[in-house]
Amino acid sequence: MRRGLGRLILAAVLAVSVLRTGRQLAWAARAIDRFRFEPVDRRLVGILGPSEELDQQIDRRIPPGDAVVFVVPAGGDFGGPDGAFWFLNARLAPRRTYYYQVGPGEKGVPVPWLEARGIRWLVRPGEAGRPVIVSSVPP
């Protein structure tokens, strides 16, 4: 009896874990094409490099007329006021910078510390034209 219950518990634990893992697997599999053909995020991957190279890298990867959108988890702050957004943002000027909230959190509320640093709230994706996207969460 106890052994049967134990097997049931073990099966339930594994089933739940596999379901959650499988969901991640499906998402990663769907993402192959997106990142294979349009590796938007890669344009900024590695940009947090040595400070002497940073400006050069930004100039090479993002023309001054482009906009940059930081995709942030809604309700979260992705690093907080001391995070690297402001650090990157200072170097991105005069490019337009936006943050776009995605995910299950509260989306209708602007993030004051991002606004204070000149990173604008992007309510609708179209407003930024065809931006470079810095994604912190799945788009």
């Binding site: 959650r20 893992t21 697997l25 192959i32 994604s135």
Partner: protein, 461 residues
């Protein structure tokens, strides 16, 4: 660069670490467990530990971190290992030779789905966790750009870098991939996280199989590889860029090798020591794991009646203590040259008097631990399930595995709790780190349940 070329490059880099591990294994550190796949997993962990450690030592000696250096650090053990005429135990274990039952095939499928998910995510989705990108990968990028471990990026106080004193083992492993590949793309280096999880699963499987058989061993490996905190959580799991899964791999392998050392498996004591040193040089938290490991070995040596086993534990304790202390001294030597910056050295703030002052926080801290155990969004029902399994089978509390792991887990949790009690914004700190502490403890916790899981398969000790 096209996607398939990237995949090939990342597989090649991962294979390189396995080859380095195999070289060291033939030279000095034989794999304690039989079996081909087990050996490859052990080699992976050894390579992940010893290649960056070699680069760290060479960097401290002033060698420039460039491609010739990385290739030499990787190539010398590989070539020396190939030349060594030691009997290589690439043999199949008897259990491997027998066919898998249907249940075992299912469990193996779960292991492969978990590893496949981590591999696919790491090879597809750009790094999206904060610390992975802005702390750990930044260090790797700095190292790969020609800055040595004592370069200005680390030692010049006017340079900006978050957490400058974090240990460099994990960033050096990634940096060596960037240097050899000639590109600093995190997607290539993240195959190493998959490699670490696969290596840990192999070692967990090998050590459990010795006493509980293959089905139990596969079950524990399946519990580990499908744990959603590892496979689906970027802020701490194996699909992110944090150092915690790597620390979990080294600390887990150290505790498993320490347990094997009790049975005097050849190479187990040395492996225990090397992985304990690796844990110390991966994260500051590794100190707690090394202390816990020594506590477990000391307790086992004291309580063990069998003289041969007692000697095995004592030998492992001596090797682990010597190598872990050497690692601490090495870290201290390096970090002395690095300005403190905004490094939150929480462990350094812990004072006994402060613990007493803040004792009123203890119920809240305990509640947070409970909250994490029940955090289905990280863990599914893994922790409640494991606890229920332990409660169902009272024999677990008398099992050798549980008694060995208990002092280790107690020390790690006690150190973490002490840090939380004294931290200024302790609730905020707990919210972002408590899950990662449990990730570090997961391999040992799963191993501790060998007895009840073995009981489910009719394999009592």
């Amino acid at each position: 660069m096209n996607y398939l070329a990237d995949v090939f490059l990342s597989l090649l880099c991962a294979a390189g670490f396995v080859a380095v591990g195999e070289g060291w294994s033939r030279l000095l550190l034989p794999c304690p467990w039989p079996g081909r796949f087990v050996r490859l997993g052990y080699d992976a962990l050894l390579g992940l530990c010893l290649l960056p450690l070699t680069l760290f030592l060479l960097g401290l000696a002033g060698a420039p971190l460039d491609r010739p250096l990385v290739l030499a650090a990787a190539g010398v053990p590989v070539v020396a290992g190939l030349l060594r005429r030691r009997q290589v135990r690439f043999d199949q274990s008897p259990a491997e030779e027998a066919g898998l039952s249907a249940v075992e095939k299912l469990l193996l499928a779960v292991v492969l789905v978990g590893l496949g998910t981590v591999a696919l995510t790491n090879g597809t989705i750009p790094l999206r966790d904060w610390d992975g990108r802005a702390t750990w990968n930044l260090k790797a990028t700095l190292l790969a750009s020609g800055q040595g471990v004592l370069g200005p990026a680390f030692t010049d106080p006017t340079r900006f870098q978050p957490m400058p004193r974090y240990p460099l083992l994990w960033p050096l492993a990634q940096a060596s991939v960037y240097i050899v590949a000639g590109r600093r793309d995190a997607l290539i280096a993240r195959s190493l996280s998959t490699l670490a999880l696969a290596g840990l699963a192999a070692v967990l499987f090998a050590e459990t199989r010795r006493s509980r058989g293959r089905a139990t061993a596969l079950t524990l490996a399946a519990l580990l590889c499908s744990a959603s905190a590892l496979t689906a959580w970027a802020d701490g799991g194996a699909i992110g860029g944090y150092a915690d899964p790597i620390l979990a791999a080294f600390a887990g392998a150290a505790i498993l090798a320490a347990f094997a050392a009790g049975d005097s498996l050849p190479g187990a004591a040395a492996a225990c020591g090397v992985f304990a040193a690796g844990a110390v040089l991966t994260k500051i938290d590794g100190l707690a794991h090394a202390a816990g490991l020594l506590a477990a070995l000391a307790a086992a040596a004291i309580l063990e009646r069998d003289q041969a086993r007692k000697r095995g534990f004592l030998r492992a304790a001596a090797v682990a203590a010597a190598l872990a202390i050497s690692a601490v001294l090495l870290y201290a030597f390096w970090s002395r040259a690095v300005p403190v910056g905004i490094d939150p050295n929480h462990l350094g703030y812990v004072r006994p008097a402060g613990l007493w002052t803040h004792r009123g926080r203890l119920p809240l801290v305990v509640r947070h631990w409970g909250g994490e155990i029940l955090a289905t969004y990280h863990w599914g029902i893994l922790w409640p399930g494991l606890i229920l399994l332990a409660l169902l089978d009272p024999a677990v509390w008398k099992s050798r595995q549980m008694r060995f792991v208990a002092p280790y887990a107690f020390v790690v949790l006690a150190v973490a709790t002490s840090v939380y009690l004294e931290a200024r914004a302790f609730e905020e700190l707990m919210k972002v780190t408590r899950g990662r502490v449990l990730i570090q403890l997961l391999p040992a916790a799963i191993f501790a349940l060998s007895e009840p899981v073995g009981w489910l398969f009719g394999r009592r000790s």
